[in-house]
Every structure is written in C-alpha cells, then in structure tokens.
C-alpha cells in the first residue's frame, strides 16, 4: 500500500495520488503533524476528478468534492486510523489542502484501492 508524507508548503494544494481508473482510492491512515506549525491549521481531504459524459451532463467539468476536514491545534497532532476511514472513498485524485501554507505542518497519508 502506498504512503506519502508532504510538507504543506508552498501552496495550498498537495496531490497525494492520481486517479486509478478502475478502482476507488481508500485512505487507510491520515496523520497531521502540526507540532511546528505556526497556528491552528485546517486540512481538507479533496476528491478531484472529471466525471464521464452522462445523459444529463454532456460536457462534464473538473469537480472537487471535500471528503474530510481535519482541524489540528497549534503544536498538536491528529491521527486517523483505518477503522475510521474505511468508508471514505476517493473516486479520482487524492489531494490534501491546507487553509494557510505552513512549512511546519506535515501530512502523511497511506492508501489502498477498492
């Protein structure tokens, strides 16, 4: 199962996994380390994709769906394990966004496929 740690700077958006076309991405663990962060931070797990053409939407557009929002206190940690994440499905690209870019905030995500 892949796993990746990223510093949440520069920029507000950080791609962890691109879409696996024939499967959903299932995060199995999310760790937010804000021990060296400058302030309380808000991390949003985003699902980013372009849907297929359908009967009602002949020209689909890039779509971003927030799947999980995590608020971490200044100098705090948050760990979310598989049991709490097992129903979280990412259809397209797995991305983590932060409210303010912070070189002291680290996000680690592990994931599998279904």
């Amino acid at each position: 199962m892949p796993s990746l740690a990223q510093v949440m700077s520069p920029g507000l958006t950080h791609v962890f996994a691109v879409e696996k076309q024939n499967a959903k991405i299932i995060p199995t663990q999310i760790i937010v380390d804000n021990e060296a962060g400058g302030a309380q931070r808000v991390i949003t797990i985003q699902d980013v994709f372009i849907p297929a053409v359908s009967n009602g939407v002949p020209i689909p557009v890039l779509t971003t769906v927030p799947r999980l929002i995590i608020t971490v206190d200044n100098a705090g940690w948050a760990t979310i394990a598989a049991e709490a994440l097992k129903e979280l499905e990412i259809l397209g690209q797995l991305r983590a966004d932060i409210d303010v870019a912070d070189p002291g905030t680290f996000v680690t995500i592990s994931w599998g496929f279904k």
């Binding site: 024939n22 499967a23 849907p51 297929a52 359908s54 971003t64 769906v65 259809l91």
Partner: protein, 216 residues
C-alpha cells in the same frame, strides 16, 4: 444471447467451467435473423479460445446515467468480433457501488420487461426504476454472473448504467457522484461449423437464443 447465472443452491459432482472451452459445442437457434447468415440456425464446435480482460470505468453523477454501447460502432467500447467465425462470450461483473445496469438491444428496446402494459424499465420513473436492473451484488466483479454472446454485425447491446440517488445533496458544485467499474472478460471463441452433428453432440451443445426470444 444474454444469460444470467443465479447463485447455485447446491453443487453436486464435478464442476463445469463457467465459460466455453475448446471442444465445446454451440447451437444458434433458427430465430437468429438472415441478416446474420454466418450463425443463423448453425451448429459449431469451439476450436480454440482466448480470454481477454477489460475494465470499463465511469464516474457519473447521482440520478443520472450513461448508455454504454458494447458494439464496435462509433462511441462503442468495441467488444464485438470482426470475424464471422468468432463468437465473443462476454462475462460481465461489477465493482461495488450505488449503481445498477439495465440492458437494451437494440437501442430503445428493453431486454427485461414484464407483460403488463407499460411495465418496462425506466430510471426516471420511481415505480419502475429498479425493474429489470442488475446491481453490483447480482454479478460481483470477482464472480461474474452475466454472460453476453456477441457475433459480427449483431445489433448494438446497450448497458444503461445508472447511479442511484442517496449519494448526498445534489447541489452544485458538490454534486454527489459514484464510480461505476464494469469488469469484462471476453472469451474469444473460434468456431468450426459442423454440418451434421450427432444427436449426442446436439444434446451437449450450448444453445444460443436470439434476443427476440427473450421478449414475449
């Protein structure tokens, strides 16, 4: 032409392979049209087979559908044979999700309907949304239970893939979506015609009905 294998209640004796194998026999009924003279009413022996896997994947909004055309025509997914001696036996299964599939052949003509007037599948009508629908649990990806039989120049088979409601609030921009993954195994069968099959070969043959025989 279209066959659904229900879950067996019991298994007795040696198991048989789900898909056609080398040396098996197939018989096309006389109901196949004369526009398909290469198979109409004919009897064949399967000379060789080759299984080819394919996945079809679509992210679709809830309460909406996509018509997946299995044929080789423009916009189709090209799962029909091009050789008159080839039969494609297609096993179809689904990864889990909040969606369902209803079949048409040709476009606009339902495969599964009931006899009462108007009892035809229609995903836009609440009372008939689930009529004739196959859900992922009916034919799991790992244990495909829907078998489709395609020959060259057969009319296009359409799989209306519909994402049901209940995915979340349908409010732009966070409209709810589902990922529909259709797993396909194409069992390519190369056929040798047998002009005078024996009674025993006829008895052992798999009979392939034309889709019109499923609608009465």
């Amino acid at each position: 032409m279209i066959q659904y294998l229900p879950t067996p209640e019991a298994t007795v004796g040696a198991t048989l392979p789900k898909l056609l194998q080398k040396g098996f026999f197939v018989k096309f009924t006389d109901a196949w049209p004369d526009t398909l003279p290469h198979v109409m009413g004919k009897f064949f022996k399967v000379a060789r087979v080759n299984e080819v896997n394919q996945d079809l994947s679509y992210i679709l909004p809830s309460n909406d559908y996509r018509d997946v055309d299995f044929s080789n025509q423009t916009g189709g997914v090209n799962l029909y044979p091009e050789n008159t001696r080839t039969l494609y036996e297609v096993a179809l299964g689904f990864k889990p999700g909040n969606y369902q599939v209803q079949f048409y052949i040709p476009a606009g003509e339902f495969v599964n309907r009931l006899e009462q007037a108007g009892m035809t599948p229609d995903v836009t009508v609440v009372a008939r949304k689930y009529l004739g629908a196959f859900k992922p649990e009916d034919s799991p990806y790992e244990d495909k239970r829907i078998l489709l039989y395609f020959v060259k120049d057969l009319e296009p088979l359409i799989a209306r893939t519909f994402v049901d409601t209940g995915q979340g609030p349908v409010a732009v921009p966070n409209i709810a979506f589902e990922k529909c993954v259709l797993g396909v195994t194409v069992n390519k069968c190369y056929l040798e015609e047998m002009k005078t099959p024996t009674a025993e070969q006829l008895a052992r043959a798999k009979t392939l009905s034309y889709y019109s025989e499923l609608r009465w």
